[in-house]
């Protein structure tokens, strides 16, 4: 016959051993929550250029993304500069004067300059390129 009853003693012993693991896991969890940033709506194929700029990116700024191939993305959806501006106008909002552009460092000028020209045409007065820190001296 099988003994179907649980033996409580060895079980208590096992659970006693996993408590430090749970503690450590909680600490790791807290570390990731506190120290990290959420990768919000970011295209993983875009690697911004390296720069020595010290200005940290602000939240709540209109951000367009530009892939190396020339695909422009707004809130994760493919768009063009005129269509993006038309979206604002359709909602009764003014086209933002400041735009953040997250473009790949390898994007050729033939791709990114027309985007800048289109933004200029819409009277966007300031563009902030997203970059990553580079520690090399000038």
């Amino acid at each position: 016959m099988f003994d179907l009853q649980e033996d409580t003693k060895p079980r208590a012993h096992l659970e006693g051993n996993i408590i430090p693991i749970i503690n450590m896991t909680f600490l790791l969890l807290l570390f990731f929550i506190v120290a990290g940033n959420f990768a919000e709506n970011m295209n993983q194929d875009i690697f911004p250029p390296q720069s020595l700029s010290e200005t940290i990116t602000e939240a709540a700024v209109v951000e367009l993304q530009l892939t190396r191939e020339g695909t422009l993305l707004w809130e994760g959806k493919e768009t063009t500069v005129p269509a993006w501006a038309a979206g604002f106008r359709a909602d009764g909002l003014p086209v933002p004067r400041k735009v953040r552009l997250r473009a790949d460092g390898g994007t050729p000028a033939a791709v990114f300059i027309p985007v800048l020209e289109d933004l200029k045409y819409l009277q966007v007065s300031r563009v902030a390129l997203v970059t990553v820190s580079d520690g090399s001296p000038l």
Partner: protein, 139 residues
């Protein structure tokens, strides 16, 4: 008066296994979703053509090519030499800078050039496409 129950108290331990499972799942989620990259911004104004063209101050014209070569005020230099050139010429911060970029030059090269200019307080930068697609050696 009977205050104590006759029933034998059953001590039930709460199993920690589901808690451990949940914490592990949360940990995996945060590991995958969290980014430690600190993004920066390199801002520049997008002026109208006339703003830099009619500027009364000095004008610095740069042509940037895909191989990292620069054609600057009639002189061909490497991008790494731009800082030394700017230090030598000591432009005032009011100087308007026009960067004409060859259509194959990657954004990274432009950002490097802008870093050098901004670190010397040359902030009036205009970016234009280079219409004549030739290298500085052909000039």
């Amino acid at each position: 008066m009977l205050l104590q129950s006759h029933h034998k108290k059953v001590l039930r331990r709460i199993s920690l296994t589901p808690l451990a499972d949940l914490v592990f799942i949360l940990l995996v989620f945060f590991i995958l979703e969290t980014s430690f990259t600190q993004f920066r911004e390199l801002g520049f104004n997008v002026p109208e053509q006339k703003e830099t063209g009619e500027s009364a101050g000095e004008l610095l014209n740069l042509e940037l090519f895909e191989d990292g070569k620069l054609w600057i005020q009639g002189e061909a230099i490497g991008l790494h030499e731009l800082g030394a050139y700017l230090d030598k010429e000591s432009f005032v911060s009011e100087t308007a800078v026009i960067i004409e970029v060859h259509n194959k030059a990657p954004l990274q090269l432009l950002v490097r050039a802008m870093d050098q200019l901004k670190s010397r307080e040359l902030e009036k930068i205009q970016i234009l496409p280079l219409e004549k697609n030739q290298g500085p050696q052909n000039k």
